[in-house]
């Protein structure tokens, strides 16, 4: 399935799709979107790239095995839940928020980091499964 058009397009599509997936992730708190959908979109971006350029190129682009994203994301989510326990001695997963919103991103709270963690885990899981199956099938 290597066509020149797709190959050229995918070079531009990958960053755009990734940006879009991050946009979806960040807007999730107010509008439709969120970590889960964002992660799925990001993985679709990579899968598209893999279709156009072959798995090897995509793996080279990633530099490390997507499986490592899973523990990283889990850790981030877990720590975001643990933060209130450490900082304020509150219950696990109590939401904490900064007073003033930051431009572009908006207000920052533990829930954001939690959602980023979900995003990373979903990306890691999907890519691991798809890469593994396409390599072995």
């Amino acid at each position: 399935m290597r066509t020149l058009i797709l190959k050229t397009a995918s070079d531009y599509l990958l960053p755009i799709l990734l940006l879009f997936s991050i946009f979806i992730l960040l807007r999730g708190h107010y509008l439709p979107g969120g970590g889960f959908v964002g992660g799925l979109m990001a993985s679709i971006a990579f899968v598209l790239h893999a279709f156009a350029n072959g798995l090897k190129d995509t793996k080279k682009l990633l530099k490390f095995h997507p499986g490592f994203l899973m523990p990283a994301g889990l850790l981030l989510s877990f720590l975001s839940g643990l933060l209130p326990v450490i900082l304020q001695d509150a219950a696990f997963m109590t939401g904490l928020w900064l007073e003033n919103p930051i431009p572009v991103i908006g207000s920052i709270g533990t829930a954001l980091f939690f959602d980023v963690g979900v995003y990373i885990v979903v990306l890691g899981v999907t890519l691991t499964i798809i890469f593994t199956i396409s390599e072995s099938a």
């Binding site: 999730g28 708190h29 970590g35 899973m70 939401g95 829930a111 072995s136």
Partner: protein, 770 residues
């Protein structure tokens, strides 16, 4: 006190980290851990002797009534001292016995776990906490029996022991739960006052039967005794520690502990008397036919455990005194005999009594220890064994009925046990030294000092019984709820019937020793009756069970995904349909339906077309694409009914699913094995039934009055509490954040599963090709 239990677990864990440094000569230092614990418990002796009970309460899972209520009374103290005291000696002994063994650190780790769980078992006052420790002792015993894991016999024995004691553990749990239901508490000390209520309760027989099951399996009572001789495959320190001195007495401990709670009924007493009686005679008789030192000792241990069960079954004050003394007596001499056996095995390379003799020339200290133990075992004065045996006879002679019969049983058993002691403890050391054994190296101090200490203790306690009278025996007997003021342990009671019986026992034992010589033909003779033994019967039963489960697995777990799905769906249909037909009145509120729009009609048509295509196409790829179309159409419905989050996710998921299918199918051969006409009709019926059922269910749910409280709460508080306007997302990351956390963990596990299944298989295939 909790720390005393936990130290063992910490020590076991530290073996994982620092075990490598402790493997060599330093390993003897590990003995300081049990020694420190021994001193810790020893300082409670005066407190307990004064009649006090030390308790400590730690909350664990309070909502289920599981608390670490620790209670140190006389019985717990005796066991704690035995566990840590004999433990110290065994730890020291092991450092020499398994010197330079490559897995010594692992061995010590298991021993630590065992010690800690055994301490936990005897100290817990809460039934459920006790259950956990009870199981932990079984598990550590499993690892220790199978320690020589390259030997298939070892592994098999370990498995047998684990299955027997494991079944016992389940019975323990069941009995404990019932006991908790009836008495309303899991705390044993609170059950003490409810003895009458329990005896008259309709569940009494069941509870007692379950508790008996637990105790009899753990303490190797007939017909569950056979795991114990098998357990002798373990290294000798393990046999000493677990399978003679401490763990096998856990069942006895349980019976002793529950005597005041469940005892005082004919069922309780008679069952214990019968089972204990059969066990002690059966096992003692078996010692006659063994030639392996450890085999002889294993059977005499079973016999001793039988005596203990028997004594608890008598249920009189005298019998409790006798049992308390005998627990200590047996631990002392049997541990000595086992340590001695280990030394002989280590230095001569054989445990066959027919080949061993004259060893006193080469290992005098071991011979002395063996002699001391054999004397105490036979109950010859002035050893503590004499005291123990006297007390046994006294309790049988003064029993309400059948005193003569019971005493005869006890005498017979004691004669045979005495014989076993002579064969094991004296025979290897006397006589002419056979060639080949003259140049045996002199044992390491860590090998001969521990048995000597234990052997000598047996005599010190015998000569000065006041040492254990007030400090240990009285508090133990008081745990059964009888007054202890008139207990006086004495070595010399004057010339009376009991002394006469003792003399008969001792001399008959000696006579038997001279008449009956163990040899291998006798061993083979008894093997012919194996077909009648409980071991054979239970093994046959378990083989049947295994064939049955094989058959079951082959029918239901046949590896065809379509069959799995069929079974699951058909089961679900029958279950739901049954409930629907019986309990529901159909009331579908047509007025609440919204009107059909043109979009809905169009996407419905697309869906129907896609389904038809998926069913009738002959290409796999086309079928997959058609299901993708189905998915997208469903997404459209989500969009129509304003669920954009769901629609987005569904879109992404459907895309990925199709990609996955294509990836897999792309590589499959072109040829498509289509199912035949009949199968298709069958599948169609199942599918339509399932779909119809789900539709009815959905309509029914709609007709039910809805409870909007929760969704209203979420909608109201999403922005106030969680600073979010998208309620769906706020629920996911905040209100139900822990759910999401678990879900992503599950996702990660699934991915690891896929990766492991495919990659590892690939690697092994690659290896084959090379």
């Amino acid at each position: 006190m909790l720390l005393a239990i936990l130290i063992g677990f910490f020590a076991a864990f530290s073996q994982l980290l620092f075990g490598k440094f402790m493997k060599g000569k330093l390993s003897i230092l590990l003995g300081f851990v049990p020694l420190a614990l021994f001193i810790f418990f020893a300082q409670y002796i005066p407190v307990i002797a004064a009649g006090e009970i030390v308790t400590a309460k730690h909350s664990w899972v309070p909502s289920f009534g599981v608390d670490l209520d620790l209670k140190l009374d006389g019985l717990a103290l005796l066991f704690s001292l035995m566990i840590t005291g004999i433990g110290t000696l065994v730890f020291v002994y092991t450092s020499a016995y398994l010197r330079n063994h490559p897995m010594l650190d692992r061995f010590y780790g298991y021993l630590f776990i065992f010690m800690a769980s055994m301490l936990g078992l005897v100290l817990s006052d809460n039934f459920l906490a006790m259950f956990i420790f009870w199981e932990l002792t079984s598990i550590s015993s499993f690892f220790l029996i199978g320690f020589n894991n390259t030997n298939p016999d070892s592994r098999k024995s370990a498995l047998t022991a684990l299955s027997i004691t494991g079944i016992g553990g389940l019975l323990f749990l069941a009995g404990g739960l019932l006991l908790g239901e009836v008495t309303g508490t899991y705390q044993i000390s609170q059950m003490l006052s409810q003895n009458e209520l329990l005896i008259n309760h309709s569940l009494y027989i069941l509870i007692v039967a379950l508790i008996f099951g637990a105790a009899f399996t753990k303490s190797a009572q007939f017909p569950f005794h056979f795991w114990l001789p098998g357990a002798m495959k373990a290294p000798t320190p393990v046999s000493t520690y677990l399978h003679s001195a401490t763990m096998v007495k856990a069942g006895i401990y349980l019976l002793f502990r529950l005597s005041p709670v469940l005892g005082n009924s004919d069922f309780w007493n008679n069952t214990l008397l019968i089972v204990g009686g059969i066990t002690m005679l059966y096992a003692a008789f078996h010692t006659l036919f063994r030639t392996d030192l450890k085999g002889i000792l294993a059977y005499s241990t079973i016999a001793a455990l039988g005596i203990l069960t028997f004594l608890i079954g008598l249920g009189t004050k005298e019998s409790f005194i006798a049992a308390a003394v005998f627990i200590l007596v047996h631990a002392l001499y049997k541990a000595t005999l086992f340590l001695m056996t280990g030394a002989i095995d280590l230095y001569t390379g054989t445990r066959d009594v027919t080949k061993l003799s004259g060893l006193h020339k080469v290992m005098l200290p071991i011979a002395i220890a063996g002699g001391l133990a054999a004397i105490s075992n036979a109950g010859i004065p002035p050893s503590v064994g004499f005291l123990g045996k006297d007390l046994i006879y006294e309790s049988t002679l003064h029993f309400r009925h059948n005193a003569v019969l019971l005493t005869t049983l006890a005498i017979l058993t004691n004669i045979l046990i005495g014989y076993a002691g002579y064969v094991a403890g004296i025979k290897p050391f006397i006589g002419r030294t056979p060639t080949g054994l003259e140049n045996v190296t002199f044992p390491h101090p860590a090998i001969w000092i521990p048995p000597i200490i234990l052997g000598v203790l047996g005599f010190i306690f015998g000569l000065f019984p006041s040492l254990i009278e007030a400090s240990l025996i009285k508090p133990i007997v008081s745990t059964t709820g009888v007054s202890t003021s008139d207990i006086h342990l004495k070595l010399w009671h004057g010339f009376n019937t009991v002394l006469g019986l003792s003399a008969i026992t001792i001399f008959s034992g000696i006579a038997l020793y001279f008449i009956w010589k163990p040899n291998s033909s006798k061993h083979y003779f008894i093997q012919r009756f194996d077909i009648l033994s409980p071991k054979f019967i239970i093994e046959t039963l378990s083989n049947w069970f295994q064939s049955f489960s094989d058959l079951w697995t082959r029918i239901f777990q046949n590896g065809y995904l379509r069959n799995y799905i069929t079974v699951i769906v058909v089961f679900l249909i029958s279950l739901v349909a049954f409930t629907l037909l019986n309990n529901t009145t159909y009331q579908i509120d047509y007025s609440s339906f919204s009107k059909l729009t043109i979009y809905e009609v169009v996407s419905l048509c697309i869906m129907i077309l896609a389904i038809g295509f998926a069913v009738f196409t002959k290409s796999r790829l086309a079928a997959v694409a058609a299901t993708g179309v189905m998915g997208y159409s469903i997404c459209l419905f989500f969009v129509f009914y304003s669920a954009p989050d769901l629609a987005m996710t569904q879109f992404a998921i459907d895309t990925l699913t199709v990609i996955l299918f294509v990836l897999v199918l792309y590589k499959l051969p072109r040829y498509l094995n289509l199912s035949d006409y009949k199968t298709r009709i069958k599948d169609g019926i199942i599918a339509i039934a399932f779909g119809g059922l789900i539709s009815i269910l959905a309509l029914e749910v709609l007709a039910q009055p809805q409870n909007n409280e929760i969704s209203a709460y979420y909608a109201e508080n999403a922005y106030v509490l969680a600073h979010g306007k998208n309620v769906v997302n706020v629920i996911l990351v905040d209100f139900r954040g822990i759910d999401t956390m678990v879900e992503i963990s599950v996702l990660a596990i699934a991915a690891i599963g896929v990766f492991g299944l495919l990659k590892l298989r690939l690697k092994s295939e690659e290896r084959k090709q090379q």
